[in-house]
Symmetry: C2
Subunit: 311 residues, 2 copies
Amino acid sequence: MPSDSSILSDGLYMRTNTALDAYLQPRLKAIEQALDQWLPAPGAHPRQLPEAMRYATLDGGKRLRPMLCIAAAEAVGSTMQQVLPTACALELIHAFSLVHDDLPALDNDTLRRGKPTCHVQFGEAIAILAGDALFAHAFHLIALQAEHSPAERVVRVLQLIADATGVDGMVGGQVEDILSEHEPVSPATLAYIHSRKTGALIRASVLSGAILGGATPEAEQALHAYGTALGLAFQIVDDILNETGDPARLGKATGTDRARQKATYPRLYGLDASRARAQQELQNALDALKPFGAEANPLRWLAHYIVEREQ
Amino acid sequence: MPSDSSILSDGLYMRTNTALDAYLQPRLKAIEQALDQWLPAPGAHPRQLPEAMRYATLDGGKRLRPMLCIAAAEAVGSTMQQVLPTACALELIHAFSLVHDDLPALDNDTLRRGKPTCHVQFGEAIAILAGDALFAHAFHLIALQAEHSPAERVVRVLQLIADATGVDGMVGGQVEDILSEHEPVSPATLAYIHSRKTGALIRASVLSGAILGGATPEAEQALHAYGTALGLAFQIVDDILNETGDPARLGKATGTDRARQKATYPRLYGLDASRARAQQELQNALDALKPFGAEANPLRWLAHYIVEREQ
């Protein structure tokens, strides 16, 4: 239990959930519409690729990364409309990473968001290329962001997102994750994997919203700390849910990390210590938001949601 | 034979080759040094990934795309140093595309630049992720370009390169290429594949140099026409060499297109008509450069080289 336990009392948590739902609903709708509009439409050429890109992205997912980008932008005085291209770019990068991670040569998963994975549906070749095309399309959307933002800010966001996804970010974390299967795991390697495999893109989602929204250096620093704590909390909870979650609710198989002897928090520290660490990171994320007032409430609600979710 | 046949007379062609070599040598050295410097160094984490990225990029390749970027920048009055990050980004994108195209689920090639392909050397999982990391790293370098160029130009180049690589560019062309194997090929589908699979990135290489170099709209338009003709010529020659080339000299297997009944110029039009079309596109490329003086000679030499190469 974090020190600021009052915020987790039942009554407040229920109010928080209701407030979060009211916050999420119109934004989710706008994100879905924008993704649908900005993803390529099926046509004569190329065959199958737009279909596979849409299959891997639409009708599923919590849209957590776009939501964090939007909430961070709003916390520093900007609006959803101002950051929507970059918010959607972050979701495309997430979708790309799932398509490639699910491939037979990697995690070999066949179920994702309650549907057959992309390579099961379209074949391996199209899935590899659909991932590539989603990644390229994310950068198309980041360039589109220049219609709403000064080019200097767009370039900063480009650097941030490219670095969060590349060799020292998401892809680097995924490589260590795979190489660490069936190996003894050190705390240093686990920390490396967790900070990069999902943490880097989650932090980049928060920071890109902050940068595009025109955050002061102090606000940016606070949101950097928030995003770092949140990214770590997210991955720990993901590890826990892979052990204890309901596959029907999660829309994907569970127990897969244990079967592959993956480097996870529960494996190295046990479930109880993992839950305590997730709560601690939630508290760290909330503490980082202390310089903000009510304008950062959605970021607070999202932090609670991420740690207390069951899917 | 193109109408301007004098430019192809033996004596002039030999002088052109010597001039091209003198032009290429210092630039090749600078590109190799920059790639070596900007690619991640092997370290504790992530294991294997920097090695695989370097393996797929260094010690091989003609560096044609960076060279076209540099030559276009110089043709409009800029310098190699000013565009080197973007020039190298283009090479990383090319290397990424080769790594993924060679995968067992796609072209299943085992030899590239005279070496085992990336997945043969590092395994399929690392090869897929090394391709992804090279693609991400290309955008890292495009962001780095902002140290030399106004952010507005960098954003234009970002848009150009993202579009040239995505669903309506390189990846879209590659999808149609795969889906057209063992199928009757229509001229429309062949034109679609050729303009996108390699043509889009070659044109983007020329145009990114032009944009970063500060080309006038007229110069940009001329270089757009040059890049389009050159991209088509390049792919036709690639198709011809796959039929008639020397595997030892090419550093990769030949006859593979025919074995897979790929959509190629020789398959649809025959070798003689393909050679004539390549010469015609060379002439179109040279014609597009008529507004330029000697400052565009390297672009002229490169066009000759691309059409008359044997590797």
